[in-house]
Subunit: 229 residues, 2 copies
């Protein structure tokens, strides 16, 4: 049986935390459909160079936003006749989390950060995809270490607590937050490293334990310093 | 840009609980590739008749297993060059839960129920897809009403507790189970309906509250009594 052609794409929801609010990175589209609109970084799956859809997502994020994310997970697949004017399409959507300073380092000229709570006018079903990603991240934040990927490589516990609070949209009890971090058992204090630049007394800096750090260290190593090369 | 052709299919992991063990429904394949092997009900996405991939999953489950499931959810998408000998493919996988007696009613001649814990020899990456579905269902069972979809329309609380225990693979404390059911607030006793056929004293029969029942009632209405036509 010959299957009528179906457009296969990948969309990436790239999230970071800026000014205590979750932001999504959108790109100004330079071609039809929806040329000029701010949309998710996306692209065709290329059977000749992509091993699978996740591989395509990594490539598209690198090519279009000059970023390699330490956390990239499949969000879900969006499909149907109406979502793309070019025809019946399947888009496998991924979400990625990066510390805000990585987004600054990438300095991609067409990349814009928008707060996720006031989106409008995105083409395709990109707003729906972004909302699904935000819901997933907020829901996972209640029980997992996921928010750590929005921090840099060194952070104080109050800073990390602030990240959880920003994601959950409500204050977190300090004692139960520390107990939860103890239970997750993923952090270690950096010997001798204190943050002293604030008005408060110096605070111990923490990092991910080594076995969890490989993934996070990709942030620096994978970053392409010149997106225009 | 013309995209090289990609095979787009849908796979459905149809689960039920039988003899206190989770079972998956597999079909004997009647065509290549892997003709004769026991595999998940699957099929091509058909852009001419399917509104989206979920629509394709509903159609394939109806056509190939003669079942309409009250619970059908997207599991994830499996893709790449190596998973299908016909070429680079994307398969959107769904999982469905049905009470065991619905599986019996469908009586599809090519359908076989296998326990999910002793699978081997499935073609494609179907074993991996089944394992992902089982993991999802077991994980969701710890905090949601999902297991109710594995019961029939009437059940006693000890029967429902047994379903949770079978999914979680461990005994559940009766008091905390009942507290959890109260919190979920999805069940109601059926007035005057008791189960009396057992050695124990008669037990109250329960059902889903009306607002949750629409979905479940599809089980009966959607069932195709003749799987061969």
């Amino acid at each position: 049986m010959a299957q009528p052609p179906i457009i296969c794409t990948v969309d990436v929801v790239l999230l970071c935390l800026k000014d205590a609010a979750l932001h999504v990175a959108l790109l100004r589209r330079d071609h039809a459909p929806f040329a000029g609109a701010l949309a998710l970084p996306d692209g065709y799956v290329d059977p000749e160079q992509d091993r699978d859809a996740q591989d395509a997502a990594v490539r598209i994020l690198r090519e279009k936003a000059a970023i390699v994310s330490p956390y990239l997970e499949q969000l879900g697949t969006f499909s149907g006749k109406g979502r793309d004017p070019r025809g019946w399409s399947i888009s496998v959507a991924y979400y990625a989390l990066v510390p805000a300073h990585i987004m600054d380092l990438a300095r991609h000229p067409a990349l814009q950060l928008l707060t996720v709570d006031h989106l409008k006018g995105q083409p395709f079903d990109h707003r729906e995809i972004i909302q699904a990603a935000v819901e997933r991240v907020r829901s996972k934040s209640t029980y997992s270490s996921l928010p750590v990927y929005l921090c840099g490589e060194r952070f104080t516990l109050p800073q990390l607590q602030g990240v959880y609070e920003a994601l959950l949209g409500e204050p977190v009890n300090k004692v139960s937050f520390r107990r939860k971090m103890d239970e997750l058992d993923i952090l270690e204090p950096i010997p001798g490293a204190m943050e002293t630049g604030r008005a408060n007394r110096p605070a111990q800096l923490y990092r991910l334990k080594k076995k969890y750090r490989n993934q996070l260290s990709l942030t620096g190593r994978g970053l392409n310093p010149d997106p225009l090369k």
